[in-house]
């Protein structure tokens, strides 16, 4: 009886499905969030009701949560309910759960909403990848988020298993209070937001693959490890071949496989299944535009940008970078100075997007040659695939402008 919605819950579900289909029919969206909002307004407990008797994985982080959600869904290899990219708050979760009867669920979850969603869904596994600075003009500073995660995980039910990145001190700080934790040793190059200890504010000492603080806070012992393309989870060792680029994605796959292993899927099987992921909401895909092939790379903040720049082929591919500073991007492009564009010295960058002059100034001071593109028709004929790096709304603009 307990899993049957209350009359109010049934009404909320009907309203939600009606709005979803209306929104799709009228072409006002993919029809997820609008319906979810209506449903939640009628029955605030809807998310909790819809979560009952399901196996639920939540994925949260500053970077990589959309990709890791997609890898987890593919890795599970059967009917899985999941939310659309970007719809990662309760309204999106309600919409995803209402649209599918699948008992297996993977939900990408906004960092700030994670505590609320943990409480509502009572998940089996929470995957925590990283925390770093992102859109500081509208989001909370990262240490405050780590604090909220910690408080939430200390109260969570004891069936919860946390799969956490042991190389990010902020994630470790948030996770260590949980009852059961699977620590993962994955490459994490961005360390600028956890230089001082989240526990005592003293400085964290780092040396080859480990870190510690004088207060005793230190990198925990890991049961999941990544070495190049080899992923080791407990005693299992698997060579991974993904169809998405970057060492950071091998780490994302390792963490997804660890979560699925907790739920009974062998890593050799889940990691093989993950090969079917080749592009997520356009990310990492090749798109066509005016006879050019564009390699679409989304980077929203310094940690994400640095990881992508490191993964670029050193070859002669053209590099286009598009930067906007609209509300969804964060209206302050100061973060461009936290990206090590210096590594592009010797290459030429075409500067695109609303804030191309901010980018050009940054590149000029980095001694990288650049061209400010005021007119898209003036772009040169391509010699090979163009690497197009763009932040959030600039990426959407280019997805609309280009075709498959």
């Amino acid at each position: 009886m307990s899993n049957r919605p209350s009359p109010r819950g049934v009404l909320a579900l009907i309203a939600l499905r009606t709005v979803n289909s209306l929104s799709r029919v009228t072409g006002r969206g993919s029809g997820t969030v609008a319906g979810g909002r209506v449903g939640l307004a009628i029955c605030p407990k809807l998310l909790s009701t819809l979560s009952k008797n399901r196996e639920i994985v939540l994925v949260s982080a500053t970077n990589g949560k959309t990709t890791t959600t997609a890898l987890s869904v593919a890795g599970w290899g059967m009917n899985v309910a999941t939310n659309a990219s970007g719809a990662n708050m309760p309204a999106g979760h309600v919409a995803a759960l209402a649209a599918s009867k699948a008992t297996r669920v993977v939900l990408e979850t906004d960092e700030a909403w994670l505590p609320v969603v943990i409480e509502a869904t009572n998940p089996n596994v929470v995957v925590l990848l990283n925390l770093s600075r992102d859109q500081l003009d509208r989001a909370t500073e990262v240490r405050a988020i780590a604090e909220r995660w910690r408080s939430s995980l200390s109260k969570a039910s004891n069936r919860l298993v946390v799969v956490a990145n042991a190389n990010d001190p902020l994630v470790v700080y948030a996770s260590e209070v949980a009852e059961t934790i699977r620590w993962c040793d994955i490459e994490t190059s961005w360390t600028a937001d956890a230089v001082s200890c989240p526990k005592c504010t003293q400085s964290i000492t780092r040396s080859a693959g480990t870190w510690s603080c004088e207060c005793g806070f230190a990198k925990p012992k890991c049961t999941t490890r990544v070495d190049g393309n080899e992923v080791r989870i407990g005693d299992d060792s698997v060579q991974v071949e993904l169809n998405i680029p970057g060492q950071f994605n091998v780490g994302n796959a390792a963490m997804a496989a660890t979560a699925l292993e907790v739920l009974g899927t062998e890593p050799s099987k889940s990691l093989l299944n993950m090969r079917s992921v080749s592009g997520i909401a356009g990310r990492f895909t090749i798109r066509q535009w005016q006879g050019r092939k564009l390699h679409m790379l989304l980077a929203k903040n310094p940690a994400g940008f640095n990881a992508l720049l490191e993964s670029l082929n050193p070859g002669s591919d053209d590099v286009w970078i598009a930067i906007n500073a609209r509300i969804a991007d964060g209206k302050d492009p100061s973060w461009l100075y936290d990206v090590s564009f210096e590594q592009l010295q010797g290459r030429k960058v075409w500067c695109l997007g609303d804030r191309r002059l901010d980018l050009a100034t940054r590149l000029d001071y980095a001694n990288v040659s650049y061209e400010v593109v005021d007119d898209l028709n003036s772009l040169p004929k391509p010699t090979s695939t163009t690497e197009l790096l763009a932040n959030y709304t600039a990426f959407s603009d280019w997805m609309q402008r280009s075709s498959q």
Binding site: V195, D332, W335, Y337, A360, T361, R362, D364, N367, Y370
Partner: protein
Amino acid sequence: MKIALIYPELLGTYGDYGNALALSQRSTRRGIDVEVMSVAITDELPEADLYLLGGGEDGPQRLAVDLLKKTSLSQRVSKGAHVFAVCAGLQILGNSFSVEGDDAYEGLSLVDVETTRGVVRSVGELFAQVGENKLVGFENHGGVTSLGRGVAPLGNVLHGRGNNGQHDGFVTDRIWATYAHGPVLAMNPWLCDEVITKVTGRTLSPLSTVADQLYAERFTSLSSR
């Protein structure tokens, strides 16, 4: 010119490395030798002509001020060194500041100013009249700063909040401070050149870069609000 970027791991939340970069590039391109030293929290404070203080979150800001109290920064400034400070760096230079909660935390007292916690955070573009020029930038802080008697503001706010909606920052013989954070010197080439001129005593030749276009674009955008 020796530039010391102080504790970038604590005071570097908003691209504050941009100021060191702009100063060094705009000097080097005019043939002025520049050395930029990044001072880690475990390092001794090196001798420098110009110390840069950036923005930071509450915990790191308190750690930075605790560490700086143990250094010779005050003596070096009284002997002729300069300071350019933004955001949390600005607050640290005063007598006290309050961050989490309303408890006042003791600052370096290099300048007679005090910062209390504002009712709301000041977040958005900042536009201020600084002498003959206008400063463009972005602010994101929770402080309200009041200047002691005889302390001059850096500029008058035209758009945004700055110290209190009226003034932004402060300026003394050897110290500049503004709430425009991160790469404010990269975005305001005229201010960057003013700082270089003051610190080196050199007359600078004109330098045209794409930063001029960026400045003009932000200037136009902010003038129309």
